[in-house]
C-alpha cells in the first residue's frame, strides 16, 4: 500500500537522474568493459556525473579548510577588532596608479553618521598594506596539537584583512565561518555515524529475524518517520541543560539529531536484506558450506554496501540542516561555540542584515554544502548499480 521510499525524507524518485549521461553505446562496451570489476564500473559511471565530481571537489575543499581552520583563517575567530565593528568585506587590490602590483589592501577610516547612526567606512587611499602569504598572526594550535602562528594569508602590520567583513561585535566573519565549519560539517558525520550504528543494527535484526520482531521494529520506524522532526528536535534540544560545557552539548545535539535519523537507514537495510536473502547466489553459498559470517561479509554486504553509502550521503546534509536550524532559532549550540547556525542567529534581525548583508554569508555555505552532498548522492545512486546498464 505504502510506497516504500528508499531515500531521504522527501523520498527522491527512484528513476535515474537526468544529469547522468547514459552509458555509451556498443562502441564503448569493449572487452575492458566486461573485464572490469564492480568498483571500476562504479567509478566509470560516477566519473560521468559531472555535478557529482564538482560536489566531491567542493566538499573536499570545505573539509580541508575545516580541518586546517586555524591556518586558513587570518584571525582568531573570537577576537574583537575594536574600531572595526560591522566593517564591510575588505577589497583586495591589484592595481595602484595604473600599474599592476602585488595584491594589497587600503586602510579604512570609519565614522559614525550622526543622522542615521550607522557606521560608515571609507577607504583611505593613503595607507597601503601588502597582502602576505604565510603571515604571522594570532597564535593557534594546528590540528589542536601544534602551537603556531602562521596563517595562510595576512596583511602587513597596521592593515586589516576582513575577507567577509566583521560582525556586530567586530569579529572576522571569514575566520568564524571557517571555525564554524568545523562544527557544522562534523556534526553531520558524527550524527550519521550514530544513526548508522542504530539503523544497521535494528534494520539488520528486523530483516534477518522477520516475524514479530520485524513487525515491531517496522511499526516503530513508521511511527518515528511520521513525526515532524523539527518540533521534536526542538523539544529534545531544549531539554539539554544550558549549564553543560560546549563539548557535551555538541554531543547531545548530535545524539538528538540521530534519534530520529536512523529510521530511513534501517528501512533500507531491512529491504535489501530481505531481497538479497533469497537471491540464488546466497543460497548457493549456503549450500557450498559458507559460514553465516562469510555470507554476510562476502555476499550480502557488497550487495547493499553501495545503497548504504548513498543513504549516508543523503542523510548527512539533513543532519547539517538540523543543527543549523536548531542553533539558528536558539535551542541548539550557543555562543561562544561557533557554528554556521549560531552565526546566522545574528542574521535574524533583518534590519541589521539589510545594512550588513555579509552577515548572511554562512547561509551560502550551508546551501552549497547541502547542494554538493545532494549532487554526490545523486551521482552515487547512478553509479550504484553499474551492471544494470
Amino acid at each position: 500500500m505504502r510506497w516504500p521510499f528508499p531515500f531521504g525524507r522527501f523520498g527522491r524518485s527512484r528513476s535515474r537522474s537526468r544529469f547522468a549521461p547514459r552509458e555509451g553505446g556498443p562502441k564503448e562496451r569493449d572487452e575492458a568493459y566486461y573485464m572490469s570489476s564492480s568498483g571500476q564500473l562504479m567509478w566509470r559511471s560516477f566519473r560521468k556525473h559531472k555535478l557529482a565530481l564538482v560536489g566531491i571537489f567542493v566538499l573536499g575543499l570545505l573539509y580541508l579548510m575545516a580541518i586546517f581552520a586555524g591556518f586558513f583563517a587570518p584571525y582568531d575567530p573570537w577576537q574583537r577588532h575594536s574600531g572595526y565593528v560591522t566593517a564591510p568585506p575588505t577589497t583586495i587590490n591589484f592595481v595602484n596608479e595604473g600599474r599592476l602590483q602585488w595584491p594589497f589592501v587600503y586602510g579604512a577610516d570609519f565614522e559614525l553618521n550622526l543622522e542615521t547612526l550607522a557606521r560608515e567606512y571609507e577607504t583611505n587611499r593613503d595607507e597601503m598594506y601588502r597582502v602576505r602569504l604565510f603571515a604571522r598572526g594570532a597564535p593557534y594550535k594546528a590540528l589542536g596539537l601544534f602551537p603556531t602562528n602562521v596563517h595562510f594569508v595576512g596583511v602587513e602590520e597596521g592593515g586589516k584583512l576582513f575577507i567577509f567583513g566583521t560582525d556586530t561585535l567586530g569579529r572576522d566573519v571569514f575566520s568564524r565561518v571557517l571555525q564554524g565549519s568545523r562544527i557544522s560539517l562534523s556534526i553531520g558525520l558524527i550524527g550519521v555515524a550514530v544513526s548508522f550504528i542504530l539503523g544497521v543494527t535494528l534494520g539488520g535484526i528486523s530483516g534477518y529475524f522477520g516475524g514479530a520482531v520485524d513487525m515491531t521494529i517496522q511499526r516503530i520506524i513508521e511511527f518515528l518517520g511520521q513525526l515532524p522532526h523539527i518540533p521534536l528536535w526542538m523539544a529534545l534540544a531544549a531539554a539539554v541543560p544550558t549549564t553543560w560545557p560546549p563539548v557535551r552539548v555538541y554531543f547531545m545535539i548530535t545524539l538528538v539529531l540521530s534519534i530520529l535519523g536512523w529510521t530511513g537507514l534501517a528501512r533500507t537495510v531491512r529491504g535489501k536484506i530481505l531481497q538479497l536473502r533469497t537471491e540464488d547466489y546466497v543460497m548457493a553459498a549456503r549450500f557450498a558450506g559458507a559460514s553465516q559470517f562469510n555470507i554476510i561479509r562476502k555476499h550480502l554486504l557488497p550487495g547493499f554496501g553501495s545503497y548504504l553509502i548513498i543513504h549516508i550521503t543523503l542523510a548527512i546534509p539533513e543532519m547539517i540542516l538540523g543543527e543549523t536550524a536548531l542553533s539558528f532559532i536558539g535551542v541548539g549550540l550557543k555562543p561562544p561555540v561557533v557554528s554556521w547556525g549560531v552565526m546566522l542567529q545574528e542574521a535574524q534581525n533583518i534590519r541589521t542584515v539589510a545594512v550588513n548583508p555579509w552577515l548572511m554569508l554562512p547561509a551560502l555555505f550551508v546551501i552549497v554544502t547541502v547542494l554538493c552532498y545532494n549532487f554526490v548522492g545523486d551521482g552515487l545512486r547512478d553509479a550504484a548499480d553499474p551492471h544494470s546498464r
Binding site: 500500500m1 505504502r2 510506497w3 521510499f5 525524507r9 522527501f10 523520498g11 527522491r12 524518485s13 527512484r14 528513476s15 537526468r18 544529469f19 511511527f223 518517520g225 511520521q226 513525526l227 515532524p228 522532526h229 523539527i230 518540533p231 521534536l232 526542538m234 523539544a235 529534545l236 531544549a238 531539554a239 541543560p241 546534509p317 540542516l321 543549523t324 536550524a325 539558528f328 532559532i329 536558539g330 535551542v331 546566522l344 542574521a347 535574524q348 533583518i350 534590519r351 542584515v353 539589510a354 548583508p357 548572511m360 547561509a363 550551508v366 546551501i367 547541502v370 547542494l371 545532494n374 549532487f375
Partner: protein
Amino acid sequence: MAGYLGRRMIYMVVLLLLLSLVSFLVIQLPPGDYLNTMITRMRSLGLVVDPALIEHYQQRYGLDLPIYQQYFVWFGNLLRGDLGESFIYNEPVLNLIKERILLSAALTFGTLIVTYLIAVPIGIYSATHQYSPLDYVFTVFGFIGLAIPNFLLALILMFLAFKYFGWSVGGLFSREYIVAPWSWGKFVDLLKHLPIPLFVIGMAGTASLIRILRGSLLDELRKQYVTTARAKGVPEVRLLFKYPVRVAINPIVSHIGYLLPALVAGETLTSIVLSLPTVGPLLLEALQQQDMYLAGSLLMVLGALALIGILISDILLVIVDPRIRFEARESA
C-alpha cells in the same frame, strides 16, 4: 472497503496513543516537575506561594503519583479537553493555542493543496517533454528547492524584500487586524499575507513531488500498453490522462503521508522566522521557558497534524486506486 478504512482508523488511534506517550515524555524531560518550576518562578517574581494552590495542582496532575500513573491522569485530562495550565501566560493551555492551531492547520493544509496544484501539472509536463528546456528549468528548480532549507529561504526572502522594496515581510496580519475579531476584511488581509509563507513552506515539497511524478510517469510511459494504444490511434491527450497518469499519480498520493510531517516541520520553523501567529513561535517560547504543559500539548497537536497525513493518503488511495478497493472487497 469499510473494513479497510476501519483497520486504518484503528492503526491511526494506536499511532496517536504512541504520540501522546512521546509528548508526555517531553513534558517530563526537564529536571524537576511542574510544581517545582512553578514555585521557583513565583518566588522569583516575589509572589507568595499559596499552599492551597499547590494542593490544587497536585490533585489536578496527580503529581504525587508514580510516573506511569501521572501519564494516565494527564491523558485523562487531555481527553476531557484539559491540556494543563501555562505558567508563562497564566492561562489554560487550550485557550492559548486554539486559534494558533487553526491557523497552523490552515497553513499546512493550504500549502499541501497548493503544492499538489503546482506539482502535478509541472510533473506531467516534465515527463511528457523530457529533456526540453522547460524540463531542465524545473529540474534545476528541483535541486535548488531541495537544497535550500525553508528557514534560510524565509530569511533570504525577508532580506531581499526589505533591502530592495523596503517591505517588512512577516506575520499573517497587518497591524490593525492583529487583535481584531474575525471579519471579511481580516480574511482578505490574511490572504494578502499568505503567498510568502506558502511559497517558503511549499517549495521543497513541490520540488520533491515534481521529481517523483516525473520519474513514475516516465516509467509508465515506456510501457508497452502505451505504445499499443498509440498504435491503435488513441488521441495522445486522452491516452495520457486515461492510463499512465492515473497509475503514476499513485505514488504521489501515498507520498502525502511523508510530505505532511515535512510540511508541519517546515511550517513550525518558517513561522518562527517570519513570526507568524501559529504554533511554531509559541512552541519555541514554551520550550525556552520550560513551560512544559504548553510545549507538550503543542507537540501533541503538531504530531497529530502530521499523522493525519497517513489517514488522508489511505482514504485518497482508496478513491484513486481501484486495485485497493477490489483487494479490500476480496479480503472482506
